[in-house]
């Protein structure tokens, strides 16, 4: 039996890629440069596309190939390009200023990962005995939930508009991984719809960031404090 038909090998590959995605997520928490952050996000999306591709190969499901391709095209290439162009246009190179300092942020991310593992545990039903092929990628659910939770934390921890957009995107990456690991992706039409929404959201938020920058001379959303009560 060739190594490329061995589900155990596939399982290892999926786990490796998912672990890479988690490492990249924590790197995004720690990284202070905006452009590097965008590239980390791109790399993370690439890892997720690889997860989807491997799962598609071993389960022979064409719609997961399409999801993998869309992830690669939209999230690993198109969205980072758009964001980098935006960064160029509004001429910001300065650092991200998180509210909580970096070491503590990483500790919090670690704690969130732990929470995610506990939550994901409740989804395993070992007494039923997982059917061999269907179990592929199920151990990545914990990673998916960690990405989701850490994305949330990044969202709260950042002041600059563009970095919040990045946090939202990485949070969405967690959801994609959850869908892949739980059910091998959503039905294709839904998957396409979600990607379409994501692309439109990036465009809309990008335009908003641009206009906020133009009007406020700053992207610091903590300065958006005029509306109260």
């Amino acid at each position: 039996m060739s190594i490329f038909n061995n589900p155990e090998f596939g399982d290892k590959l999926v786990t490796l890629m998912a672990a890479l995605a988690l490492v990249l997520q924590i790197a995004m928490v720690a990284q202070r440069w905006l452009v590097t952050n965008i590239r980390l996000f791109s790399a993370q999306s690439f890892a997720l596309a690889a997860v989807a591709g491997v799962i598609a190969w071993f389960t022979h499901s064409p719609h997961v190939y399409i999801a993998a391709f869309l992830t690669l095209a939209v999230k690993a290439i198109l969205v980072p390009l758009l964001l980098e162009r935006l960064v160029d246009r509004i001429e910001i190179r300065q650092e991200i200023e998180p509210i909580i300092n970096t070491p503590l942020s990483i500790v919090i991310s670690g704690a969130l990962t732990l929470v995610a593992y506990i939550v994901a545990d409740s989804f395993y039903h070992p007494e039923e005995g997982p059917p061999a092929a269907a179990s592929l990628g199920h151990n990545t659910l914990a990673v998916a939930i960690s990405l989701f939770l850490i994305g949330f934390f990044m969202m709260l921890n950042r002041r600059k508009a563009l970095t919040q957009v990045l946090a939202l995107l990485s949070l969405e990456n967690g959801l994609f991984l959850a869908a892949i690991s739980l059910t091998y992706g959503m039905p294709l039409i839904v998957e396409i719809g979600v990607f379409f929404d994501l692309l439109v959201a990036v465009l809309v938020l990008g335009i908003l960031v641009f206009r906020i920058r133009e009007t406020f001379e700053s992207m610091d959303v903590s300065k958006l404090r005029r509306l109260r009560g």
Partner: protein, 494 residues
């Protein structure tokens, strides 16, 4: 066929308006398209009453009485607001509200192009059978309306739009997680890996077989997600900002039709959860969030200085009322929810339109700058404003009194004594606050400003909507009542 017409008429009107370079033509396209949409929605409602449910493309699009009711309300509000917008935007252009650097033609094109897309997304929410597609459509409603919130391009509008987009985005990501888990909870059922595996009509018939642990988590996440979109506390903070910054006809659509769509999404998930887990678990959560929203809105309504924000907090209150009604559940609670949704849609959009008239006349939305006397300066607007506020705070003989009374009755019958007491208490708080503020605004001596001209588009749409509000207080047309009952039966599953 009718389902496609309902989706594509407004969807086509958006780009079409974009290419109509002239104002008059854009106005015609919009009003015409929304009139056609309303006709299609009425036709759909008639077919649903006759046949029970309508579906297309193997059940990809699906409409039962609940979808038909929400689609009908959406289309109705859209038509009235598009008529109103004609007058409103002409007045804006005349008075130079677009700002000195604002290009009036571009602004008009933006409004007339985005509104039909927005309405089309809302109609897709009601007609999509697949829960994933429904989620996509709800997210699309946010994205289509962000630039309606930034319409006037002020600092505050950008801030409001940012909050709206980000809070909405984060909230809806939770709903997406909920949707994924719903899909997963049915993964052991046959045919779950096909497109139909996430179809609501399929899941609803097999709801008892769904995985209970997963469904519980899925419901919590969907409640948080669609609750954010509906503006339930504590995820409501975007709402007053977005409503007070958007142009008034768009704010009217946001506060009535879009609220309905979010509640609609919540109802669909609630039905699955209630059939899978029993009504207690989802019901109690809904009661909690519903009453919290009502409670949170009370102090803000009492001390509010700005009448558009007052209306927004009022919408939060009503989102809470609807969540409470759904939480109480049962035949009576569901009927009360559907009645309340219908009545609230009419009354709240009317209130926003009146507020728009006041705003355009006085150029401010602060109570203390106007100092009362609206009814003398603008007898029609003032009179209707007062009537609509009396209606919405639940004064008999208006219709919202009936629906709120029904909710309390249903809650008592179901043994929810504390929630009923809180409901009445919070209701009284909002009643006092709203009446005090709007009374002060409308009544009083005449202000010095010259009386405004009669703007036919604006005033006629207000009069028409006011007539609807008065009529439904006393008499609901039999087919509409049948549709509302049908929608309630969808919830209880009888």
């Amino acid at each position: 066929m009718i389902l496609l017409a309902l989706l594509f008429i407004p969807f086509a009107a958006g780009p079409l308006s974009y290419f109509m370079r002239e104002r008059r033509r854009m106005e015609r396209v919009n009003v015409g398209a929304f009139a056609a949409t309303l006709v299609a929605a009425i036709a759909l409602a008639r077919r649903v009453l006759r046949e029970g449910s309508v579906s297309l493309w193997d059940g990809f699009l699906y409409a039962d009485a609940l979808s038909a009711l929400v689609a009908l309300l959406t289309a109705g509000v859209a038509l009235v607001c598009s008529c109103y917008a004609v007058g409103y935007l002409r007045e804006d252009e005349r008075s130079g509200a677009f700002g000195e650097n604002g290009d009036a033609a571009a602004q008009l094109r933006k409004y007339y192009c985005l509104t039909p897309m927005f309405v089309s997304a809302m109609l897709l929410v009601t007609l999509a059978n697949n829960l994933g597609v429904m989620w996509v459509a709800i997210e699309l409603t946010t994205l289509a309306s962000v630039f309606l919130v930034t319409f006037y391009g002020k600092l505050t509008s950008l801030e409001a739009a940012w909050k709206y987009a980000i809070i909405g985005g984060v909230g809806l990501s939770m709903a997406l997680f909920g949707t994924i888990l719903t899909y997963y909870s049915g993964h052991k059922l046959t045919g779950s890996d096909t497109l139909a595996g996430l179809n609501w009509s399929v899941l609803a018939t097999q709801a008892v077989h769904l995985d209970k642990t997963t469904m519980r988590l899925a419901f919590i996440l969907c409640l948080l997600g669609y609750g954010t979109k509906a503006g339930l506390a504590p995820m409501h903070t975007w709402k007053p900002d977005a409503y007070s910054e958007a142009p008034v006809p768009a704010a009217a659509i946001l506060s009535s039709a879009m609220l309905n769509c979010a509640i609609y999404g919540l109802v669909r998930v609630y039905i699955l959860a209630a059939r899978c887990l029993g009504a207690d678990f989802p019901g109690n959560l809904l009661l909690l969030f519903g009453l919290l929203s009502m409670g949170v809105s009370v102090p803000f309504v009492l001390v509010q200085k700005n009448f558009r924000r007052l209306l927004a907090y009022h919408t939060i209150d009503h989102a809470g009322i609807m969540a409470t009604a759904l939480g109480v559940g049962g035949p009576l609670g569901s009927l009360a929810l559907m009645l309340h949704m219908t009545f609230h849609t009419v009354a709240k959009s009317l209130l926003f339109l009146c507020a728009g008239n006041v705003w355009q006349q006085f150029k401010t939305d602060l109570f203390h700058k106007i100092k009362g006397g609206v009814i003398r300066a603008m007898p029609l607007t003032g009179g209707v404003f007062l009537m609509a506020i009396l209606a919405i705070i639940g004064m008999p003989p208006f219709s919202l009194f009936q629906s709120e009374f029904l909710i309390v009755r249903a809650a008592f019958e179901a043994g929810h004594y504390l929630p009923s007491a809180l409901f009445v208490l919070f209701g009284a708080g909002v009643f006092a606050g709203a009446l005090l503020h709007v009374g002060g605004l409308v009544l009083g001596p005449a202000p010095a400003e010259p009386p405004p001209g009669w703007l036919p588009w604006r005033e006629t749409s207000i009069l028409a909507l006011a007539a609807v509000l008065v009529v439904i207080g006393f008499w609901l047309p039999a087919p509409l009542l049948e549709l509302i009952r049908g929608a309630a039966r969808v919830v209880t599953g009888g």
